[in-house]
Amino acid sequence: MIALRRRRMSRLAWHEARSGLLFLSPWIIGFLAFTLIPVIATLVFTFTNITLSQDAPLRFVGLDNYLALFRDPQVWVSLLVAFKFAAISLPVAVILPFAVALLLNSRSLRGSALFRVLFFMPYVVPFVAGILIWSQMLNSDTGWINGLLGLVGIQGPDWLNDAGWVYPGLVIIGVWGIGGGIIVNQAGLKGIPTELYDAARIDGAGWWGQLRHVTLPMMSPVIFYTLVLGVVEVLQYFLVPLVLNQGTGEPGGATRFYNLYLYKTFFAFQEMSYGATLAWLLFLITLAFTGILFWSARYWVYYAGESSSS
């Protein structure tokens, strides 16, 4: 069939296709050189013994790296750290931008454009600079947050050095960057047809009824989108603990996230093959979670354009 189509392709179409491919070639070359080939290379690395010092000759080690991974307690501890943090941060990362977007969308709010700008502004500040500023804000001795708590007679916690408080501290830092999520949610809210609210009001729905029966179903694709991105981001969580605690994992290993351990394995311990194996495990875990989310989407995500039979 393909051969048949090829034969039918006119000379002009053939030239156009070739020109199109030529213009696409920078992207194709970039994709091959910087994405596909490195991805395949890391998979090959997982079956070898590459380290930077490379005292031993390069050799094929079969599944040794995968066996080492299952025997490495730090892998499971780091995954647990990531899951614990996800349990606290994911609801905040999904619900808070949605809630703020609802507020900004309210007819009763004056100056919503100003608030939108204010909420979005931190998002454009380089994240590392933001983390450094927050490390000072959360400093238990000299930080503004504990200073403010002290004004009302509350002894503030040691946000960054107490294993019990470090996750709330990290979530607070994360909240600073929800501007992007707010914009996405607001765009979703603006896209909901007002006739649906009119109809709901005629049917006697109050604020809660409209939220439950109109807003949430219509926003479910946006919530699904932010949830998928949130899961991917939390599994790759890395920059904040690296900058805050120089990647030491302190306090008490509570910030040794999986991705941080992966990074250390590559660049501090210089174990390239084992690092590649850790990266592939992270990829498979992320794939599994996003797969589950996509499977569950059919039960709770509503796409207005879809026919009921599909």
Binding site: N139, N161, T248, G249
Partner: protein
């Protein structure tokens, strides 16, 4: 036919770019390598100088390094020297990335013992280049040359700079507290406020450091009502870059026993770690990690330079950046522990990577940095010269340094002799000495350093015992 011309032209342009990008200066260097001597033909060979696994990334040093590069390029038309600067905090990771991607820089430095050990096996044995270029090693002390001769790796460095430790102190703070200044000669006693003469040891330091630690109500750490949550000025600050170094000020040692397999915790190190821990959480004359990292005390970049610390142990390289501490600081002798002072020692040099594609040209650069440019760089790094002939003039050069407004950079009465005297008390073995699983071990040590400086209520004996066990587990795993 004419339709094909634009497409063919585009293909040719892409190919031309790819070929140009891939070719670089290899042709010239290959020819040079084949003939044995670098021939000044073809385009200049690009040599990358990677900084800063050691000192070198201070804002005052970068323009000087840039000028050194410019001067080199003007006098060496067949080599193009490129300065590849990564700040110290990220330099190891960035260097690992360059090695892993197969694009190592050619010349690396200044790099200390620790930075070099973190990349053991990556350095070129310079012996053949030294012989080929008739490089004169007799201009350095034999001990300094042998320091870089490593079994199994060869002569992996040529001496450049040494940094003995000193006690930096603020005379004004001592005056305000009614205390005598610390001794500037090793072996001298210290005169306490009651007139008694006592040994200059860490117990004495603890006593006077508490008097020099002051809260917002102007009470010192020995007085009733002193509030450790509102400290405005600290009495003492250890050199806290490396847990091993923190311990080594209390006695030289190394973590690997002579069999290079068994972990040992030097007795002095354990004493030092406990002394520092008590200084933070019991006597409050040393700041905790959260205070240390606050902007009020220089945000984790050597708290003495905030001007709110009375004494700090640090290396001579800290002189480069101590100007922010105010215009009146001085140097004193490192205190003793168990009757012996240990002025912990750093040494930096430039090295050539094993993966350099142009070792001959890299050696030309190395010779320049260690030769013509060495005085400029040593002054900038506040590094004591390893070359014997340069040592006498070094401090005169420091004193002559002026800032952009023409004011002298350093106070006029600094007793530089303290630094020279400290060399006799250098830690041997050096605290950065090799140990198995070097990078993993360092990672654990860094974790412990953060824990011990951040967590009150620890049983330090148990902590040190845990460290030993955990290190041994890392070493056993290999």
């Amino acid at each position: 036919m004419h339709r094909r011309i634009p497409a063919l032209s585009a293909v040719m342009v892409v190919l031309a770019i790819l070929i140009t990008a891939c070719s670089g200066g290899n042709a010239a260097s290959s020819a040079a390598a084949a003939s044995g001597t670098p021939e000044p033909t073809g385009p200049p060979v690009e040599i990358k100088w990677y900084c800063c696994l050691g000192t070198g990334d201070d804002k005052t040093q970068l323009p000087i390094e840039a000028k050194v590069v410019d001067d080199f390029n003007k006098s060496h038309p067949h080599i193009k020297l490129v300065f590849d600067h990564v700040a110290y905090s990220g330099a190891r990771d960035a260097f690992a990335t360059r090695l892993a991607s197969g694009t190592p820089p050619d010349v690396v430095g200044p790099v200390g013992v620790g930075g070099a050990e973190a990349f053991r096996g990556q350095w070129l044995d310079l012996a053949s280049l030294i012989a080929k270029n008739h490089y004169d090693l007799t201009q350095y002390g034999q001990g300094a040359v042998d320091f870089y001769k490593v079994a199994g790796q060869g002569q992996i460095g040529i001496p450049f700079a040494v940094y003995p430790s000193e006690l930096y102190y603020q005379p004004d703070m001592f005056d305000e507290a009614g205390l005598n200044y610390p001794p500037q000669k090793y072996g001298d006693k210290y005169k306490m406020p009651d007139g008694s003469m006592v040994d200059w040891n860490y117990d004495t330091v603890r006593q006077i450091a508490m008097k020099l630690t002051v809260d917002s109500a102007n009470k010192d750490a020995t007085q009733a009502g002193f509030d450790p949550k509102k400290i405005q000025q600290y009495g003492f600050e250890p050199q806290r870059d490396d847990l091993r170094g923190m311990g080594a000020y209390f006695g030289a040692g190394k973590l690997a026993a002579d069999d290079n397999k068994t972990v040992q915790i030097p007795e002095g190190w354990a004493q030092g770690w406990k002394w520092i821990y008590d200084g933070m959480f019991k006597d409050h004359f040393i700041m905790t990690n959260s205070v240390y990292t606050s902007t009020a005390f220089n945000g984790g970049r050597y708290a003495f330079n905030s001007g709110k610390v009375a004494m700090q142990e640090n290396f001579l390289w800290n002189v480069c950046c101590v100007t922010d501490a105010g215009g009146n600081w001085n140097l004193a002798a490192i205190p003793s522990n168990n009757g012996k002072p240990t002025a912990v020692f750093n040494a930096d040099t430039f090295r050539i990577t094993k993966g350099s594609k142009h070792p001959d040209e890299a050696f030309t650069v190395l010779s320049y940095l260690l030769g013509d440019a060495s005085k400029t760089l040593l002054n900038s790094y506040s590094a004591f010269p390893a070359r014997t002939a340069d040592q006498a003039d070094f401090f005169t050069g420091l004193e002559a340094q002026k800032d952009s407004k023409g004011k002298p950079v350093y106070p006029p009465d600094v007793d530089w002799q303290v630094a020279v005297d400290g060399i006799k008390y250098a830690d041997n073995p050096n605290f950065e000495a090799w140990m198995p699983a070097y990078n993993k071990s360092l990672d654990l040590l860094q974790t412990k350093l953060t824990r011990w400086t951040s967590t009150p209520g620890l049983d330090m004996d148990q902590e040190i015992s845990n460290l030993k066990t955990q290190l041994q587990a890392i070493w056993d795993k290999g």
